[in-house]
Symmetry: C2
Subunit: 346 residues, 2 copies
């Protein structure tokens, strides 16, 4: 893992290593906002309250006794790729690897919502972690806050309260003993060290929905602030690396991965001439919701030596295509435009 | 007027001059966010659209032909008193005088809503001015924006689209030819140079609702960002001024004004010993919604020479009392705590 911040730990996965469909736990990227909370199974408690007939708490053992599911999901940090923005913007300087895929085992959130019997006005679900501290971006609330994030009730059907990751107990940095996994959303929604679930009757306007992890949308001509949600369609090249030297006249296997939050990736194209001509890549992973598809492209490297610019471009089943420029309304987030990889043929 | 910023013009009323219940137009405070737009009656147009059966536009003459009302309202800038915060915060350094009262003549907003026939889902009304520019506070939208502010539909009954102020045509700095007046709300709601009214089915999350003119409320233990709305109960001392020298053993008339956005002011008390003992002041203006009440207190100045600390404290009919400390959740806004005025008896 590549260190982007020592404390709290923010660690990037080596994106070139796409040898397996599931990212090994030891290579799964880590995103932490505050000091890592050390929780114990023995006194862990998950509290559900808000717009419901019956609020309740569950111990770790009670949660483990409920029927479990295993769901595969790719998580991408909303700031992944930030290092490619020019001019540089503040925030962790992620390159390509703040994205990873795992199988998550735990209790469907739907099971707990069913037990709680929500009121008719319930509209959003706030997940709150045990991690707390003083955030960095203006406007700042006074004092310490907990990490907390919401999603609409309609998204709840996909959400898992996970205690295992690729068949192993969750690691401390990944939210031990229980985290949420919100498939399709940028990683900030998948709250780690989950201790509270609060049901709201109005949209949640917390710090990580407004000051941070938000963007500007347009509504009747006015920019309006909205929380980030679904990952936007994206592909990235794992191999070759920038400035890699490739042998003229050889056959080179360009490879990478592609994903989208709303839909499945249906097509990846590759350009070896800086975006003029595009050719289809081969998708090597099967199509399934909420997970990436790795891809390959056999490049017949020209005999002409010199610099070449490689690019990849993904399209999803909703017809969304990776754009060629970053949308400034997203500020330091949702960096999903096609990125040139400059290499040298010798 | 006291200059707080030359361009755009931000001008403070001399608060000590409370000689009249209505502030003369030439002494009414001015708050501008962007360069003053120069509009003309001849090509002025007010557009109404959004969640309604029939969107429409009105010329200035068409607006003037509608039945008019005259309503008195005190407007206070949400940042009034900011200069008293310690440590100093960024923003215009208003002292006491970013508050004034006028009679506003124009068309009730209700008349236009009636004509528009709103849909059942209508919930908020966005007012947009012709003024536009690049704002200052993070997070910033990319590019220029118009000044725009919303309020809930339930507030619409109080709102006037005003073309006259104290019987005179609106001045350029006060929104010529038409501004909104939202009685009871901080001044930022009373959009000047009004050209668009947009009806929303969800709360408006524009820049001046989220980045600026917003505060932190608490909801289920988490700070949440909310737009500022009603003025909080407040009184301020106009006379004496800080450091004024007052004759020992004389009778001195302490005076000021008090207001509240939600209710009328029912009581003002004065302390001449730094807040230990409080005595009732006499309210010299009658009680009416959305306007200030000036007050007087006859102080029998002691024979003992030295420094004295005067304070005033207002209570409104909803039982709200002026606090003795600034609430940090409001940041640089809603500064309505009791302010000590230190004077010298000689």
């Amino acid at each position: 893992l590549i260190i982007r911040e020592q404390e709290p730990p923010n660690l990037e996965s080596p994106f070139a290593q796409l040898h397996s469909f599931l990212t090994p736990n030891c290579l799964f990227y880590v995103r932490s906002h505050f000091t890592t909370p050390i929780l114990e199974q023995g006194n862990y408690s998950l509290t559900m309250d808000g717009a419901m007939e019956q609020s309740f708490s569950l111990s770790y053992d009670e949660l483990r006794d409920l029927p479990a599911v295993t769901r595969t999901a790719t998580l991408e940090c909303a700031g992944n790729g930030r290092n490619y923005l020019v001019p540089q913007v503040k925030g962790l300087q992620w390159q390509l690897g703040a994205v990873s895929t795992a199988e998550w085992t735990g209790v469907p959130l739907a099971t707990l919502l069913h037990r709680a019997r929500l009121t008719a006005d319930a509209c959003e679900i706030v997940l709150q972690g045990a991690d707390q501290g003083t955030p960095k971006d203006e406007p700042l609330p006074p004092g310490k806050i907990h990490y907390a994030r919401s999603f609409p009730l309609t998204k709840a059907k996909d959400v898992v309260l996970a205690y295992a990751m690729n068949g192993q107990e969750l690691g401390i940095d990944h939210g031990y003993p229980v985290r949420a996994v919100v498939p399709g959303y940028y990683g900030m929604a998948s709250v780690k060290w989950l201790t509270h679930i609060h049901i709201m009757e109005t949209p949640f306007q917390g710090y990580f929905q407004t000051s941070d992890y938000a963007y500007w949308d347009l509504e009747a001509g006015n920019p309006v602030r909205r929380p980030l949600r679904e990952m936007l369609v994206k592909s990235a090249i794992g191999r070759p690396a920038t400035r890699e030297v490739i042998k003229a006249g050889s056959e080179y296997r360009v490879s990478g991965a592609a994903w989208s939050g709303n839909a499945t990736v249906s097509k990846v194209e590759v350009s070896t001439d800086g975006g003029h001509e595009w050719k289809p890549a081969c998708l090597t992973d099967e199509e399934q919701p909420f997970v990436w598809r790795r891809w390959e492209f056999k490049w017949l490297v020209p005999f002409k030596k010199g610099r070449y610019i490689l690019m990849s471009r993904a399209t999803d089943n909703d017809g969304n295509v990776q754009p060629d420029q970053h949308d400034r309304n997203f500020g330091p987030y949702a960096i999903h435009h096609t990125l040139p990889v400059e290499i040298e043929v010798q």
